[in-house]
């Protein structure tokens, strides 16, 4: 478990991370969302022991991270602009990482390089941006660490590769309980992979919740009513977050228990009613509004 308690970090006059407290459980995928400059990368660098927090503590399995190789052996950090040695090849990287990470799996790396069609003897400098990202992820997976910190790692991957990486993550989570921590400014990238999402804004955490918990408490209903129905009265009895009306077709996003919402709407005798899946974006709109923020201004 990674635990950050009241962590702050400033760069001169700029407060990059402000009193953040977050807990990242093992075996889940933690998504860290925020606009550019929200403090995601700074937080990850502190979690990776690159930066020392000005205040607060970050522990990994109860071990302080900063300058602690024992803790650092438990994660692999992929920065937003990963460094590769000059003139290096994947093969040389493999050799280097196997010196640094005791559990580094060379065979696995060879297999994955083949799977991703990356030549292990080719100079990394000649790789495309996406190929370098793939290589970073492969190195991270093969390092055999418990945690994988990815800073904007999916940015630059094509949809096919993104899916491939996601499936590798899923496999690793299932097989050995890998805990990826993914920082991104793009909600849609994390939608189908994260179990837990933390939203950072201006250095602080706006919310940090299990995605399922958020989904349980908010629902989207599409329904149609006769002209004389008492729909407006009914809607007052439920906690409507958003309402869209197109002719007789209503699309209502409301908080509360799904059955309660359905029952309440049923009392207005709808011609048609259907519960629709909510996107992460919609959930966030709802949750951040509760916190008093307009998410559209924060992320989109």
């Amino acid at each position: 478990m990674i635990e950050a308690k009241n962590v702050s970090k400033s760069f001169g006059d700029i407060l990059a991370v402000d009193n953040v407290s977050v807990t990242i459980r093992e075996g889940s995928v933690f998504g860290m969302i925020g606009t550019n400059g929200a403090g995601k990368s700074t937080f990850l660098r502190m979690a990776a022991g690159v930066f020392r927090p000005d205040n607060g503590t970050i522990t990994l399995d109860d071990m302080p991270v900063y300058e602690n190789p024992a803790a650092k052996q438990e994660f692999f950090y992929i920065s937003d602009d990963q460094y590769f040695f000059a003139n290096t090849t994947p093969k040389e990287l493999m050799r280097y990482y196997s010196v640094v990470y005791p559990k580094f799996n060379k065979n696995r790396m060879r297999k994955m390089l083949a799977q991703f069609d990356l030549d292990e003897k080719r100079k990394v400098a000649t790789f495309s941006k996406g190929m370098k990202k793939q290589l970073s992820v492969i190195c991270g997976i093969c390092a055999g660490t418990k945690y994988l910190f990815c800073d904007e790692t999916f940015d630059g991957l094509d949809p096919v590769m993104r899916q491939a990486v996601k499936s590798i993550f899923a496999q690793e989570i299932e097989e050995r309980g890998l805990t990826p921590v993914i920082a991104s400014h793009n909600l849609r990238e994390l939608e189908d992979i994260c179990d837990h999402v933390g939203l950072l804004h201006r250095g602080g955490v706006l919310l940090s919740r299990e995605l399922e918990d958020m989904k349980v408490n908010i629902h989207k209903v599409q329904c149609a009513f006769k002209a004389d129905s008492n729909i407006e009265e009914v809607l007052q009895s439920i906690d409507v977050v958003k309402k869209e009306i197109r002719g007789s077709l209503y699309t209502i996003t409301a908080r509360g228990n799904a059955d309660d919402i359905r029952n309440q709407i049923q009392t207005a005798n709808p011609i048609f009613m259907e519960l629709l899946p909510l996107s992460l974006e919609e959930i966030f709109i709802s949750e951040t509004e509760v916190a008093g923020y307009d998410i559209k201004k924060l992320i989109f």
Partner: protein, 782 residues
């Protein structure tokens, strides 16, 4: 940590990353040892193994060995350049990751402690230099073994120089790392390396400039470079390295030095590591890694730069008088301080608009840059008026440019000039006359300083300004160096300029003290050292025959010292040397033995020395007693009027005017005259007409008379009765001497001849010589 993640694996991996520096270093040392030293060894072996040299095997090996040892040392500029450039490259290349955010993310997220990353980088930087050097050195040893010339001397010389250069490299390298730690950008780091290395010498030079410009009694001897090194060596790796090569000669002191080095290097490693652990990763790509160092560095640079700008302005405007020059001095300081502060601040912030930040600090910098040189100018520290109380003085030394004797002196520390010798050895305790002289000189220095800076400006001060109208008083500006050694052990040296004739009586008192004599003549030091005197050669212009003399060097020098002590100031003032003793001694230094020599002048009053020489078969005579003179030629270059002037005769105004008269024939008209009349003009020329004439005397009576007034020209710079017109009037004497047997003489062999140049003693040119000179110059009335 598993064994795979060990220090050595990381070392190996890091070396892979820095392969180019290893290749570069290997190429350089291959060129040095593999090519240059191979050629050198082959050359020596080829040269000394030639049959016609006739060396025995042992001599052959010794010759090669001593030459090669010398080369290990004499190649030091190359080795130093390699070490300095190598250290800078390795420090910058090895720690460049500190200046890259990407690399910081990478290295500092790895499960490796920073100490280990630091140690790996540090050690590899040393190996990159040391390994190829050692391999090259070993190759040279093997080469010597193959050629059969390997000796322990070569082994230790090579190893010793390796150690010296490794020490220099390490200090430069650690200083380079320090600059990398303190900065966040490579360009700034490079400037940082320059500053770390050159700051102390530059500040020393600036201080020296201020002192030299504003303190008129500042003494700057030829030892300045050594002093600069010794003062700055612990503050500048560059100076330290230089001083290592300059001073260390492999004796016992080296190991003390080595211990000090180890402590110094360990302190630098510890400082670097401490800074590394303190250094925040986010400081990559910022100018300075530590906020606290920003004002300190800026201040340390901006103040001296401001002073320098002020000094530049001052030197340009100096001739315009006190008010103008001091205003420019202050303005330059303010402007230089302001600009330098602003530029550094803009570098720090990466924004030219921020150049006016920290206004109070800027103001302090500007004020200091303007005020410090003014303090020097007004001598607030009382430097020029320094004169300790008489009862505080333990001993003193006085050296006058008019009273320097003998050449350089050699002891176990090497060659030393007569001034430095006297400063080091003169510890006169009877200081009455010296102190009186110091009082006069100090008082005069105050007057001189006032005139130089505040009344006229330097260029307008003349001898008359300082000494008054010298038409009635004889005037000879002479420099005086005075050293005060106080009872508390401190030493102060000052230099003055004053009229020699005005203090001649005091100088006489000072010289006639035997304590003074034995310190002002370097010969007294020679016997006290362990210098091995090989033999003494004798030279006299009158008699060049030395013969096969068996001289006891020690006995001759002892007699010489005794004679010198017996000679008074008056003797020296009125006498002139008649010859010299050349003491040949053997010097044993690293790289081998060789002979060197130093000369001491012999005066006719030195009866003990002359007797000893006579007993040994050599009669040293003065020119007056020379019997082998057949003719004397007097060469004169100049006009009639020039001769009158140097003889102190009056030159009529009309004679000068005649030069421009149409009747006169100047040099340019000479050919015109020839073209017009078909012959060259008569020798009766204008009194200003420049001529080269030779007047020859063969009459024995005239020769005898002339000889009485001559002194040998080569000793003209010595203390004594020497005139200043030697460039115009030379007396050349041709000597003949029989050296062979009667048979040889009959065969026309055994007679050698040579000529020497002399001068007349001051104001002692015989009248018949003057007459002949004017006659030859074509002067009718004079």
């Amino acid at each position: 940590m598993t064994s795979r993640n060990s220090f050595f694996n990381l070392l190996k991996e890091d070396l892979h990353r820095r392969l180019w520096t290893l290749i570069l270093s290997s190429l350089v040392f291959f060129g040095t040892f593999g090519v240059a030293f191979t050629m050198i060894v082959q050359n020596y072996v080829g040269r000394y193994s030639r049959v016609n040299y006739g060396y025995t095997k042992a001599q052959f090996i010794e010759m090669v060995s001593s030459n090669l040892c010398e080369d290990f040392y004499s190649f030091f500029p190359w080795f130093m350049a390699v070490a300095i450039i190598g250290a800078i490259i390795c420090a910058m290349n090895g720690f460049a990751y500190l200046h890259s955010r990407k690399q910081m993310d990478f290295y500092h997220s790895l499960p490796v402690k920073r100490e280990k990353i630091f140690a790996v980088r540090l050690v590899n930087g040393v190996l990159i230099y040391a390994l190829p050097y050692l391999v090259g050195l070993l190759y040279t040893y093997v080469l010597c073994l193959i050629y059969g010339v390997m000796t322990w001397d070569i082994f230790f010389c090579g190893l010793f120089m390796f150690l010296i250069h490794l020490m220099g490299y390490l200090i430069m390298y650690l200083a380079g790392i320090l600059a990398m730690m303190l900065t966040g950008k490579l360009v700034i780091a490079f400037f940082g390396i320059c500053i770390v290395n050159l700051y102390a010498p530059a500040v020393y030079a600036l201080f020296w400039l201020l002192k030299d410009t504003f303190f008129i009694t500042a003494y700057n001897s030829g030892m300045d470079f050594d002093i600069a090194l010794s003062v700055t060596r612990w503050f500048s790796p560059f100076s330290y390295y230089f001083s290592l090569v300059n001073e260390i000669n492999g004796d016992g002191r080296f190991w003390l030095e080595f211990l000090a080095f180890l402590v110094f290097a360990a302190a630098l490693v510890a400082l670097n590591l401490w800074l590394y652990k303190k250094r925040a990763s986010e400081k990559a790509d910022t100018a300075m890694a530590f906020k606290a160092t920003e004002p300190v560095v800026r201040f340390m640079i901006a103040v001296p730069v401001g002073i320098l700008v002020g000094m530049l302005f001052f030197s340009i405007q100096y001739d315009y008088g006190f008010t103008t020059s001091v205003l420019w001095l202050v303005f330059g300081g303010l402007l230089g301080g302001f600009l330098c502060h602003g530029i550094i601040e803009a570098f720090y912030k990466g924004d030219i608009k921020k150049c006016l930040s920290h206004k109070v600090q800027m103001l302090v910098t500007m004020v200091l840059a303007a005020v410090i040189p003014v303090l020097f100018m007004f001598d607030v520290f009382g430097y020029d008026s320094y004169l300790p109380k008489k009862n505080q003085i333990k001993n003193m030394a006085v050296i006058s440019s008019e009273m320097r004797f003998g050449g350089s002196y050699y002891d176990e520390n090497g060659w030393i000039g007569p001034v430095d010798y006297a400063l080091e050895n003169m510890k006169v305790t009877n200081i009455d006359a010296m102190y009186e002289l110091a009082e006069i000189l100090t008082k005069d220095a105050g007057k001189h300083r006032a005139e130089r800076f505040f009344d006229y400006g330097y260029n307008y001060v003349t001898a008359e300004d300082i000494y008054g109208n010298s038409s009635e008083e004889r005037y000879n500006p002479t420099s005086f160096i005075i050293r005060y050694t106080l009872k508390d052990g401190s030493e102060t040296i000052r230099k003055y300029e004053y009229n020699y004739y005005a203090v001649m009586d005091l100088l006489e008192q000072i010289y006639n003290d035997n304590e003074y004599k034995s310190a002002v003549h370097p010969v007294f030091g020679l016997l006290k050292t362990n210098v091995n005197i090989k033999n003494i050669e004798i030279y006299s212009p009158v008699n060049i025959k030395a013969g096969n003399m068996q001289l006891n060097g020690k006995a001759v020098l002892e007699a010489y010292e005794e004679d010198l002590l017996a000679m008074t100031f008056d003797d020296l003032k009125n006498s002139a040397p008649i010859g010299e003793l050349t003491v040949v001694f053997t010097i044993e230094e690293e790289g081998g033995k060789y002979d060197d020599s130093t000369n001491f002048l012999v005066y006719p009053e030195m009866i003990r020395t002359l007797d000893l020489l006579r007993v040994s078969g050599y009669q040293m005579k003065g020119i007056a007693d020379a019997s082998n003179v057949n003719s004397i030629s007097i060469h004169y270059s100049g006009s009639q009027n020039d001769l009158k002037r140097i003889l102190g005769m009056e030159v009529p105004e009309e004679d000068v005017q005649n030069y421009y008269d149409e009747k006169s024939v100047g040099y340019e008209d000479y050919e015109i005259y020839y073209e017009k009349y078909g012959y060259y003009p008569p020798t009766v020329a204008s009194p200003e007409y420049y001529q080269d004439i030779v007047v020859e005397f063969t009459d024995p009576a005239e020769i005898a008379e002339i000889k009485k007034h001559l002194i040998y020209r080569s000793y003209g710079n010595e203390f004594g009765p020497f005139p200043t017109y030697e460039t115009f009037l030379n007396v050349e004497i041709y000597f003949e001497m029989q050296t062979g047997t009667y048979e040889e003489l009959l065969a026309g062999e055994g007679i050698i001849g040579w000529s020497e140049r002399f001068r007349f003693r001051e104001d002692e040119i015989p009248q018949f010589v003057i007459d002949r000179l004017f006659e030859q110059l074509g002067a009718e009335n004079y």
